[in-house]
């Protein structure tokens, strides 16, 4: 009896008019978007010849993978972890240590890197998921810091601040048979990884599991009433995200050919948070676009790192304060308003 009464219109008739967004981007065109993006991405090395630009695009692809994997935890189940670079770094160090000590092939390195990150995520997740919100965030930050200190201090294992070197860059015989040079080969290898991860992410979030993620994030008691174990799903999102970060970490180690403790730094978390929140957490295309915008544009404009960070900081402060739902949310709102305006005119 104490309920809030909400008198909505009794029965919305299905909208008879197409919204403006449908007019501008009809469903057929929208379903072409992935293909279009993919074709452009494949054609890029034919137009872009200089190593610098190609390198920036490769970096952006790495950020796409990192941002999507981070969003599983932050955006999909709403657990703002601050430990993501720890998983990335674990993957990178796992690859480097295996190369230096055992010389195992790349495939095995990647497998072990993924496993190591997953194990670390479980070790962090079991205590941390007994906490919530800010305390969860701070506990994960604590673990991330401990991981960084281990990389700094356990010189016998990690070489400490001297870094681990000796990784060979990525190449593919098949790609080189087309006459592509090293940079182009690496670009394509990261493109394949990014596409594979994006497809995996897409399938996962649209599956039953993705549905349960949203349920847990939106209303935990209701999700429990529906028989969903919230901790299990949060944990799975966290762990899968960690595995993906470990995977890209292993490849990244080869790409850079050295691995340093700074790769576990919290500044990566900040970059990723900028990408996620301005791209729209829990989204897809917005995050991918933001990964490119926030990685490529400052590089391309050759902005001094310091000035870039001033812009980042201001963007984060103003963006989050003024646009609660990120750019994607803001464009959605604008689209909705335009659509309503268009409907109003015709009706």
């Amino acid at each position: 009896m104490t309920d809030h009464v909400h008198h909505g219109p009794p029965n919305h008739p299905p909208s008879r008019f197409r919204s403006l967004s449908e007019v501008l981007a009809p469903p057929a065109a929208r379903s072409m978007l992935p293909l279009f993006v993919l074709v452009v991405a494949v054609l890029v090395p034919f137009g872009v010849k200089d190593a610098f630009t190609l390198g920036i695009l490769t970096d952006s692809l790495i950020y796409v993978v990192l941002a999507l994997s981070y969003d599983l935890s932050v955006g999909r189940v709403g657990a703002l972890s601050l430990a993501h670079p720890a998983f990335f770094g674990t993957g990178a160090y796992a690859a480097a240590i295996i190369v230096q000590r055992y010389g195992l092939p790349l495939g095995l390195q990647v497998l072990i890197a993924i496993s190591a990150s997953i194990v670390l995520a479980v070790v962090i997740g079991i205590p941390a998921f007994r906490l919530s919100h800010l305390t969860f965030g701070m506990a994960t930050l604590g673990f991330a810091l401990i991981a960084e200190l281990i990389a700094q201090n356990e010189i016998g294992l990690t070489n400490g601040p001297l870094c681990m070197a000796g990784l060979s860059p990525l190449s593919s015989g098949w790609l080189s048979s087309f006459g592509f040079d090293q940079n182009v080969q690496q670009y394509y290898i990261f493109l394949v990884i990014a596409v594979a991860v994006a497809v995996f992410f897409w399938v996962l979030v649209r599956s039953r599991i993705g549905r349960a993620y949203v349920a847990v994030r939106e209303d935990e008691p209701m999700a429990m009433a529906a028989g969903i174990n919230p901790t299990r799903y949060r944990m799975s999102a966290f762990v899968i995200g960690a595995g993906l970060a470990g995977l890209i970490g292993a490849f990244y180690a080869h790409y850079l050919s050295v691995v340093c403790p700074t790769k576990l730094d919290i500044s990566y978390t900040v970059n990723l948070l900028v990408i996620l929140f301005l791209g729209g957490t829990g989204g897809f295309w917005g995050i991918i676009a933001a990964a490119f915008v926030f990685t490529a544009i400052p590089e391309a404009l050759q902005v001094a790192p310091n000035i870039r960070l001033i812009v980042y900081g201001a963007a984060l402060l103003v963006g989050v304060t003024a646009l609660p739902e990120g750019f994607e949310g803001a464009t959605r709102t604008v689209r909705r308003r335009l659509a309503r305006y268009a409907r109003g005119n015709r009706a």
Binding site: H12, A225, S236
Partner: protein, 249 residues
């Protein structure tokens, strides 16, 4: 099917429930009534695992459930709705129903991530069931709409449908008709009557007496955390203590 034995619960000195006793048998439709603040929702929360009783036993199908987590109880086949309608506002009406079907099939880890044939079959049955329920609550036309955009009455109906989705053995409904317009009340009444006729066991909390008297086989009355009467609708209606409780509050 459900046995409540001496369940008590208090919040910082307020005795919300004191030694409540009653049972619900298979196939029954039992209603629980009582003035505001008499402890009905608190009892629902204890049964569904959201609160832990201070004392007493709750037995569901021979299993003690007093200390289990809400999702475990739900997986045992005990569904509930919430007094203030809860739905996943951003998920569509159809998806809201599918979420409830999430766990009611034991599936392998691999099955969780890949669309194995077993999962695909499960999804197909779940979708068929969801569409059937949407048809019954007359929301088929709105299946793709986010639940947050439905009217209040429609959301109430949808939340009942969600509770029925996994073929629960027992469903607890907390004030299904409160703040709902008269037309939707009739729709809800018809739905409950139908599912009860099909053998669904229901425990209902309601303030709408007409609704209660019309539907229930048995009525339990709470007042200030105590059970003050139990019996057929007619017995309860004529009970002096019940009248006092309602007039006195």
């Amino acid at each position: 099917m459900l046995e409540i034995h001496g369940v008590s619960k208090s919040f910082a000195g307020v005795h919300a429930l004191e030694s409540i006793e009653f049972t619900v048998s298979e196939g029954q439709l039992v209603s629980m009534i009582g003035p505001n603040g008499s402890g009905k929702t608190t009892l629902f929360n204890c049964i569904s695992g959201f609160l832990r009783p201070d004392a007493g036993k709750i037995v569901f199908q021979g299993k003690q459930i007093g200390a289990r987590a809400p999702f475990e109880i739900a997986q045992l086949g005990l569904s509930r709705t919430f007094q203030s309608v809860r739905l996943f506002a951003k998920l569509s009406a159809l998806e809201n129903l599918l979420v409830s079907m999430q766990q009611h099939q034991d599936d392998s880890i691999l099955g969780r991530f890949f669309h194995t044939p077993a999962i695909r079959r499960h999804e197909a049955t779940a979708t068929a069931r969801a569409l059937e329920l949407l048809e019954r609550v007359k929301l088929t036309a709105h299946q793709a709409k986010p639940a947050g955009e439905l009217s209040y009455g429609q959301r109430k109906l949808l939340s009942i449908a969600a509770a029925l989705m996994p073929h629960p053995k027992l469903v607890l409904l907390d004030e299904p008709t409160s703040a709902v317009n008269p037309v939707a009340i009739l729709a809800i009444r018809d739905l409950l009557r139908e599912i009860h006729a099909e053998g669904q066991t229901i425990l209902l909390v309601e303030h709408n007496m007409e609704f209660v008297m019309e539907l229930s086989e048995r009525v339990v009355v709470l007042d200030a955390g105590r059970k003050i009467a139990e019996g057929s609708p007619r017995q309860v209606r004529e009970d002096k203590r019940v009248m006092e409780a309602y007039l006195g509050s």
